[in-house]
């Protein structure tokens, strides 16, 4: 598919609710400053569990961002998604007047890694502690993976193609790609992204089954990808929602075009088979470059998956070299998520947000808590690095075996 796509997808709005900031500005400030917010787990009921460190979203006052009824009727993961969608829609200046007459032109896509775990645990407790008649009516719409897409669609009046992909972490990029394809087929805009809330006590118990979960108790040492001290990953809450639009349609309404979603590809190489993910990730990068019609040496920065497991980090370093050739050892690589943790499907969407902001600010954010890189990569550590950035590559892998890559372009380089 070398030919230029007729309908291109551009990012026009970014909404972030992350451990290091409950709005996009705060997120970017702490991200480029390289501040780590990883800290002890404080969510109620988690204190006795062996997971010590996580990226919690603190200071998130749901009531200030969404209507009171949603706080009772939906789970925390949906609160995050609804708040982030609002921020993104505001940022894009996309309001009801823009689509009142064409509601089928705007869709919603989210990725979900675990659904409404806190809500579900509360209702399970009612069922097993009190009896079946104590399960409330909102359980039927709050726990399942589709909750956030449904609520955002209803709240905004978006009747376009609505979708939910649940393909663990790489699903965040898959959701964006799904939105871009929807736009290619005729949808004008999509509210897309992922937010997660996996820190309810029972959800944490479930994650203890991941052998790559870090249970270290020192926040500065719990998640150190690409170092010889790598000991697994730290989970996080939050995520990001974006507004993506068909380029011409965005231009017509005078929207600010932030970046182009230029290419994506996804592959699968088996759960926890990190050595094999080398080929899978390389194939995904090659596929994304091909779709973006982008040469390897055009990539100016790589936002790495950075799992923090030696075999996985090594596979990723090799995959970057396999796919980008000699350029792979020179291109700056960063992983801001080492300062906030991995918010599952939300993680790569946060990276996409950070990549767009990096291109806009000509600044590559560093990889917090990482100083002693032991792979043949130019990892940006310590401080943000100024650089002219036209094209960014975002990588993601899931614990169940998915690999995905996405190419983003700065708008000045988008030919009209």
């Amino acid at each position: 598919m070398k030919t230029r796509k007729a309908r291109r997808t551009v990012v026009t709005g970014i909404g972030v609710v992350a451990p290091n900031g409950t709005n996009t500005e705060a997120f970017w400030k702490r991200t480029h400053e390289g501040i780590s917010v990883l800290d002890r787990v404080t969510r109620e009921g988690c204190e006795q569990l062996p997971l010590r460190v996580a990226g919690e979203v603190r200071g998130f006052e749901a009531a200030e961002l969404i209507e009171e009824r949603f706080i009772v009727q939906t789970d925390r993961f949906t609160h995050f998604a609804m708040a982030a969608a609002d921020i993104a829609l505001d940022d894009a200046r996309l309001g009801r007047a823009d689509y009142e007459d064409s509601p089928f032109d705007i869709g919603v896509v989210t990725a979900a890694g675990s659904g409404g775990g806190e809500f579900g645990q509360r209702e399970l407790q009612r069922l097993w502690g009190q009896g079946s008649t104590y399960v409330g009516p909102y359980q039927s719409i709050a726990w399942f993976y589709a909750a956030s897409t449904g609520q955002i669609s209803i709240r905004g009046g978006f009747k376009g193609p609505c979708a939910v992909v649940a393909s663990d972490e790489a699903g965040g990029l898959d959701a964006l790609a799904h939105a871009a394809r929807s736009i290619r087929r005729g949808t004008e805009a999509v509210v897309v992204g992922a937010a997660e809330a996996p820190l309810a006590p029972y959800s944490v118990v479930c994650q203890l089954g991941y052998e790559d979960l870090s249970t270290r108790d020192d926040p500065a040492r719990a998640y150190r990808p690409f170092t010889s001290d790598a000991c697994g990953f730290v989970p996080a809450e939050g995520g990001a929602m974006l507004v993506v639009e068909e380029e011409q349609s965005a231009r017509r309404r005078g929207a600010r075009i932030r970046a182009e979603v230029a290419g994506h590809a996804a592959t699968f190489t088996g759960a926890a088979r990190w050595e094999e993910s080398r080929e899978g990730l390389a194939q995904a990068i090659i596929g994304a470059l091909r779709e973006a019609d982008c040469a390897p040496d055009e990539i100016d920065v790589v936002f790495a998956d950075a799992l923090g497991v030696p075999a996985a980090d090594s596979a990723e370093a090799l995959a970057i070299a396999d796919a980008l050739g000699a350029h792979g050892r020179q291109v700056p690589v960063t992983a801001p998520k080492s300062g906030i943790g991995r918010a599952y499907c939300g993680a790569p969407v946060l990276d996409v947000a950070a990549a767009v902001l990096s291109m806009e600010n000509a600044l590559i954010p560093p990889t917090p808590n990482v100083f002693d890189v032991c792979h043949d990569l130019d990892v940006v550590t310590g401080q943000a690095r100024p650089a002219e950035l036209r094209t960014a590559l975002v990588l993601s892998r899931g614990l169940m075996g998915s690999n995905a890559a996405m190419v983003l372009r700065r708008p000045t380089d988008i030919q009209v």
């Binding site: 009921g45 988690c46 569990l49 062996p50 089928f104 869709g107 890694g113 645990q121 209702e123 399970l124 407790q125 009612r126 069922l127 097993w128 502690g129 009896g131 008649t133 399960v135 409330g136 359980q139 039927s140 726990w143 993976y145 589709a146 897409t149 449904g150 669609s153 209803i154 009046g157 978006f158 009747k159 193609p161 609505c162 979708a163 939910v164 992909v165 649940a166 393909s167 663990d168 699903g171 394809r181 087929r185 029972y202 959800s203 944490v204 118990v205 479930c206 994650q207 203890l208 089954g209 996804a266 592959t267 699968f268 088996g270 899978g280 194939q283 614990l399 169940m400 075996g401 998915s402």
Partner: protein, 422 residues
């Protein structure tokens, strides 16, 4: 040139019969597989009936490791995938693994194991601050819905895009729809597509009890699922899975495969109305039907059969009847329309794929499955619902539609090869 998408294999795990032949036998004879719940003791629940699968994973070829790692719904999908691959005569070793994808839907995922282990770690709901020690192995797989597509991808050796899709009760239609797009748009040549759910657990039964969406006709379970009938009182929960082998048409022909039919069109929209409520007019479902037909380059009058969502709730069946009339116009009154949920219940995310499997088999057998238990017409549901007895009919093109919590409205058009305007 447009890439066309053929169905070359079908696998089904459904209540009343494991395997596509047993499933079709049930449908063609209008038998119902609804009964009193046996998977747990339903005493004290409002709805105590369901359509359960009599399923032994070992008897269907899963090894001990596969069984230990996977939740019941994943086992359904693996057994259905195995059957579908065999049916397609597709040797995964002879397919480029990077050009083979997996797209599987589920609404509630690993809730069976999640609930089971929850009881252990919480002291039967006694504590919020759960104790992790009694948790069983592989619980993380139940937690992560992507384990569904992942397990099947490992089983078949796929290296292309592998995705779990979770759009509530349209998950099955949407998973097949996304797979259709992925072949049509050239990302893969083969896609293992379908859906699976095993929701007959206390928490899921209780959550539908709480909103009175399920039938409380506990004294007559065999006749409790009554789509479109005036006496319908809610859906009957089901479980199961169905998997199709979808293949780019030339790819299938090149290896001499039998192509049962083509997936010709797909569309989905949100109703932006209410998480569980449906508009009386059915505007958004009608839009999904129209766009799926446009995609298939077909006219509504070419549709010979509509496989309905037909859940058997008061609201759904009226909504759907209105939507089909809006989309197909006068032809709605001529078309045969039925709900197999009358026989196999409503298996949430799985049912869309099971219904598409039923459409494929209907095209193969040139027979429309009936709406069992349909006896007493509802004035607001005045279409031809194929009461109780299967109907032999010349079928070229059929439509499967669905609605899901969250407002999802989806439609898939299938046609015998050559059934659409070139």
């Amino acid at each position: 040139m447009t890439r066309r998408v053929g169905v070359t294999g079908v696998g089904v795990v459904a209540p009343g019969g494991i395997g596509a032949p047993a499933f079709w036998d049930l449908l063609a004879n209008g038998r119902t597989a609804t009964r009193g719940i046996t998977l747990f003791d339903p005493a004290g629940f409002r709805s105590r009936i369901a359509a359960e699968c009599d399923f032994d994973p070992a008897a269907h070829g899963l090894d001990a490791d596969q069984v230990a790692k996977s939740d019941r719904y994943v086992q359904f999908a693996m057994v259905a995938a195995r059957e579908a691959l065999g049916d397609a005569g597709l040797d995964p070793e002879k397919v480029d693994p990077w050009r083979m994808g997996v797209s599987l839907g589920t609404a509630v995922g690993g809730t069976t194991r999640l609930e089971h282990d929850y009881v252990a770690v919480s002291g039967s709901g006694a504590r919020w601050d759960v104790d992790h020690r009694p948790a069983g192995p592989h619980l993380e797989r139940a937690f992560s819905p992507s384990s569904l597509a992942s397990a099947v991808a490992e089983q078949v050796g796929a290296h292309g895009p592998v995705q779990t899709v979770s759009t509530g009760c349209t998950s099955g239609l949407d998973a097949i729809g996304y797979a259709f797009h992925s072949i049509e748009e050239g990302r893969v040549d083969v896609c293992i597509a379908g859906a699976s759910d095993s929701p007959i657990t206390p928490i899921t039964v209780a959550c539908f009890d709480a909103i009175k969406a399920t039938s409380a006709n506990n004294d007559d379970p065999e006749h409790a699922s009554r789509p479109f009938d005036s006496r319908r009182d809610g859906f009957v929960m089901g479980e199961g899975g169905a998997v199709l082998v979808l293949e780019e048409l030339e790819h299938a022909r090149a290896r001499g495969a039998t192509v049962y039919c083509e997936i010709a069109g797909y569309a989905t929209f949100g109703n932006a109305y209410h998480m569980t409520g449906l508009t009386p007019e059915g505007l958004e479902m009608a839009e999904a039907i129209n766009r799926a037909l446009d995609h298939a380059r077909m006219d509504g009058s070419q549709i010979d059969y509509v496989n309905a969502h037909g859940s058997g709730t008061k609201q759904n069946d009226r909504h759907e009847t209105a939507a089909v009339k809006r989309a197909l116009g006068a032809h709605a009154y001529d078309v045969s329309m039925s709900s197999i949920k009358s026989m196999v219940g409503h298996s949430l995310g799985a049912i869309g794929a099971i219904e598409i499997a039923a459409c494929v088999l209907a095209l193969v057998h040139q027979t429309v499955p009936p709406t069992a238990n349909y006896e007493s017409p509802d004035p607001e549901c005045d279409l031809d619902y194929v009461p109780r007895t299967a109907r032999p009919l010349k079928l070229r093109s059929v439509l499967s539609v669905g609605s899901g919590f969250g407002g999802f409205q989806s439609a898939v058009a299938l046609t015998r090869t050559g059934g659409r305007t070139p």
